[in-house]
């Protein structure tokens, strides 16, 4: 009996200790390790994501969430210099030197590329013995073949096929063969010279190809990995039991500084340092003088600077704000609702956060947001005055003030600031002007917003992606803007996937929430959105805009180096678009970021893919700040004890009174 009682006590105490050990304020999961092999602290970077990735296939991923995870894992042939942004500079990563341009006898252009020797894929069961093999030119060749594979569905195939030899033929052949690409078929645009050398043959001059080589679409892929990770059951489990292998799209195998260690859908994504990574080191210079004290100590250091990166999926803004305040997230973007608590009227960081050592930085993305108007729609397409009227009726600044605290600038032109061809003084001729909008409605044949034939208000449909309260509010705001003209706007709410489908099919009148973030710093990357041969699904011209002069100018400027002549063409194209109004311009993306004192920004080049390898954490400072910002209040314990004693005292007295 005593033994049982002792056992119960020990068990109770142990369980109590276990539960107590589980108590804590830190919501982040435990890191993979506490220390590195050399005894120094294991550095973890904690980030938040508002959504999940859609694919981690380098030839497929195109959305921001997927890129955020994929880019640290997949290294590109070239990359943007982390500090040189004016102008942007591209430097070799997997290549040993910049591609050498060669002019062929027929006037076409080739680029000779040499891979660095001694770069290895990450260790993975898909390789013999689980050891990653060396990267070779055949892996680049395979990646380009995958771009041409209709089953892979590379979203930039149309862009590349127009300039690289043989891609269209390979794609067409596969289409005729029931979407089956014969990988033994030769791709004439990519010639493998030897194990580490290849040549890219272009159909016509295309200086922007350099930028494409700095994107993950052209990153090399190991064929073994694609074949191995097929999403089918295999006897891989313990004791030869069957286990389903993930698909390659969810198990990237590459040469980057990180590996995907864990992915819990809807919850978290964990990246861990690639122990075999030796491809790049921290640059020796290129930063501005004010950043010298911060960045100099990292010069020449091996990358990545942190050992682990943890992305937690937060659907709401509130937990991001709270965890950042507590020091459990290493930075945050300042959203609409948190804006006033962080940013003062003079656009400085609020004193209570500044006193903690936090700082505020403004990021301007190379992107433009707009509403797309379907040019094939029988109402909007043939009526430029109506499109102009809609553009004039939209008070974009009011929307920015309400939903984005007035931070981003109103877009006056398609090209984002900082890109060649951007005209700082250019004003959208059909910017907000309600009187002009009403006049244009008369000229469009709808005085007062009514169709004179029927006498009823003109009815338009606006498709929106409404996944949250704010999206619905934005939709309602936009609806009101157009209703000021007397027209009726019906809102159709879609999921994100359905919206993409509608854009691809041209099944909309007005598509809200569309826009473009630059893939590379060139006007061609914006104007291709309106090139007549770039209709979906292969292209991204979702407005289905076609203008012979615009197309001619596009073809001319796309192959030119930056020059005054090119600038003149870009300006002309800007003017054509402004007049034709295939879109209603909204804003250029800009936002504030709160930087933690222990996580200073080592680079903020928004075009740089895989910039996470430069990120750093001051671990001791973070530990100290977390202690300072999260004092453990002892009064609840004291109050609990007092209540407990009081209750015991009361119950004893009560029992005595009852004479129990």
């Amino acid at each position: 009996m005593d033994l049982i009682a002792s056992f119960q006590r020990v068990l109770g105490l142990s369980l109590g200790l276990v539960f107590l050990a589980g108590c804590g304020n830190d919501p982040n999961p435990r890191p993979l390790r506490q220390t590195r092999p050399d005894g120094s602290p294991w550095l973890v970077r904690y980030s938040g994501m508002p959504d999940e990735p859609r694919s981690l296939d380098p030839q497929v991923a195109y959305d921001q969430m997927s890129r955020r995870i994929l880019e640290p894992v997949v290294e590109t042939l070239l990359e943007y210099h982390p500090f040189k942004t004016d102008p942007y500079e591209v430097v070799p990563v997997l290549l040993s030197e910049m591609p050498r341009r060669e002019l062929q006898a027929d006037g076409s252009v080739s680029y000779l590329c040499k891979l660095k020797p001694g770069i290895f894929f990450v260790d993975d069961p898909c390789f013999p013995g689980g050891k990653g093999r060396e990267l070779v030119a055949a892996d680049v060749y395979y990646a380009f073949q995958r771009i041409c594979d209709p089953k892979v569905g590379c979203p930039v195939f149309g862009n590349l096929a127009e300039y690289i030899k043989g891609m269209s033929q390979l794609y067409e052949g596969a289409k005729k063969n029931g979407d089956q690409l014969d990988y033994s078929q030769k791709l004439s645009g990519l010639e493998v010279i030897d194990s580490h050398t290849f040549k890219l043959h272009l159909l016509k001059p295309y200086p922007q190809i350099i930028y494409w080589l700095a994107m993950h679409f052209t990153a090399p892929v190991a064929r073994e990995a694609v074949d191995y990770y097929d999403g089918q059951p295999h006897p891989d489990g313990p004791g030869g039991r069957e286990r389903v292998r993930p698909k390659f799209a969810w198990h990237p195998v590459a040469t980057g500084p990180f590996v995907l260690h864990e992915y819990r859908p809807g919850h978290l994504i964990r990246l861990a340092r690639n122990e075999r990574y030796q491809t790049t080191v921290f640059p020796e210079g290129g930063w501005t003088p004010d950043r010298e004290p911060l960045l100099r100590p990292f010069a020449g250091k091996n990358l990545p600077l942190v050992d682990e990166v943890l992305f937690t999926v937060f659907r709401e803004e509130l937990p991001i704000v709270l965890l950042s305040r507590q020091g459990y997230l290493d930075g945050m973007g300042v959203g609409k609702d948190a804006f006033n608590s962080f940013v003062t009227p003079s656009l400085k960081l609020d004193q209570k956060y500044a006193s903690r050592g936090m700082s505020l930085e403004k990021d301007v993305d190379l992107g433009t947001f707009y509403m797309s108007l379907n040019m094939q729609d029988p109402v909007l397409g043939p009526n430029p005055k109506l499109r102009q009227a809609l553009s004039c009726a939209h008070d974009t600044q009011a929307g920015i003030d309400i939903f984005r605290n007035g931070v981003p600038p109103v877009a006056q032109q398609l090209i984002a600031p900082g890109i060649f061809g951007f005209q700082p003084g250019f004003r959208n001729p059909y910017g907000f002007n309600l009187e002009k909008a009403r006049q244009l409605m008369v000229e469009a044949g709808y005085p007062g917003g009514r169709d004179p034939k029927t006498g009823r208000p003109l009815e338009l449909t606006m498709d929106v992606t409404a996944t949250g309260a704010q999206e619905r509010q934005v939709a309602e705001f936009n609806q009101r803007q157009f209703q000021q003209l007397g027209i009726q706007v019906k809102i159709v709410e879609n999921t994100f996937a359905r919206m993409l489908e509608k854009e691809d099919q041209g099944n909309f009148q007005i598509a809200s929430g569309t826009g473009w973030g630059a893939d590379y710093p060139d006007p061609e990357n914006f104007f291709f959105l309106f090139y007549g041969k770039n209709f979906p699904p292969e292209g991204k011209n979702i407005s289905r805009y076609r203008n012979a002069e615009f197309d001619r100018l596009f073809e001319q400027m796309a192959t030119m180096e930056n020059s005054p002549e090119r600038l003149e063409i870009v300006r002309r194209m800007n003017a054509i678009l402004a007049e034709d109004c295939p879109v209603i311009l909204e804003m250029n993306k800009a936002f504030y970021v709160v930087v933690q004192p222990f996580a200073p920004r080592t680079q903020n080049n928004t075009l740089l893919e895989g910039g996470l390898k430069y990120a750093w954490i001051d671990h001791p400072l973070r530990e100290q700040k977390r202690r300072d910002w999260n004092p453990v209040p002892l009064w609840p314990l004291g109050a609990g004890a007092v209540l407990m004693i009081g209750a015991v005292f009361y119950s004893v007295r009560w029992n005595r009174r009852l004479d129990v």
Partner: protein, 337 residues
Amino acid sequence: MNALFDNLWVQNALVLAGVAVWVALLIHGSRSERWRRAWLRLRKDRVGMISGGVIALYLGVGALESFQIPQPTGPSLSVLGWMTRGVPREKSYSAPLARTSLSVVKPEPLKGRHLLGTDALGNDTLVQTLRACRTALAIGGITSLIYIPLGTLLGILAGYYRRWVDDVIQYVYSTLASIPSILLLVSILMALGKGLGTMSIALGVTSWVGLCRLIRGETMRQSERPYVAAARALGQSHWKIVLHHLLPNVLHLVVINFVLGFSGLVLTEAILSYLGVGTPVGTPSWGSMIDGARSEFSREPLVWWNLTAATGALFGLVLSLNLFGDALRRAFDPKKA
């Protein structure tokens, strides 16, 4: 389906139909001895009468928002919209009774004063709260029109005919009840699309089970009673027994279930709208208001009035419905007869 419900004349017809149903019920009740006795007991129940008055107030506001007046130069306007047409729309948030907008960076003078402030789009919160009555009542009303006849009919059939009829009906409702109701609702709404009409159908399809079970049990009990045996002995047809004898004797349960179920429907509408699968963009609803106010708690200064107004209105209606339901149950309680 949704376009039909959005039609001005359909909406007006529905309001009139709703009023007609209530009048018919009252006339029917005034002729029944049982209902008259219940009414006498209900009149003495202070809580029941007050909650009934509150419900009538909500019904009145909902009817004012539902009844549409055609406009010669634009879309139709509800009576409530016409009555509140003088309330100005601001640019964005403003606090209750404030003189300037809620912007720290750029506060601007307001066009008017707002008792409960304004929301992100500058709408008067009080007006939005009142307008949302219509959504709650429309969902509760239309859904009740679907599920009450369905649940009552199937319950009586199962309880009266028993055997295979009972087996089939039980199988259907047991299967339906085993599916988590919110998931079922969300999937029906995803398939049919958003809108008041589709939401009512989805709720109607999922709400009849409880009533059906209740009516089935009561019908079984009533079927054993002598008056049913006497009706059978007199050679009355099954339908006559069901319609003339059984239905009037289970109708009080239907009324109580309607009142209590109504509050559940109002809450479900709010939950669905909060989850983003409820009312479409531009339709005022308490759930949408709560959903919109969700992130407003991280704002500084805090925006509390949208959430407070919506939850307050929701609380008032649901509490009143529950109290009134209880009062009705007490009034119809045969033990007190």
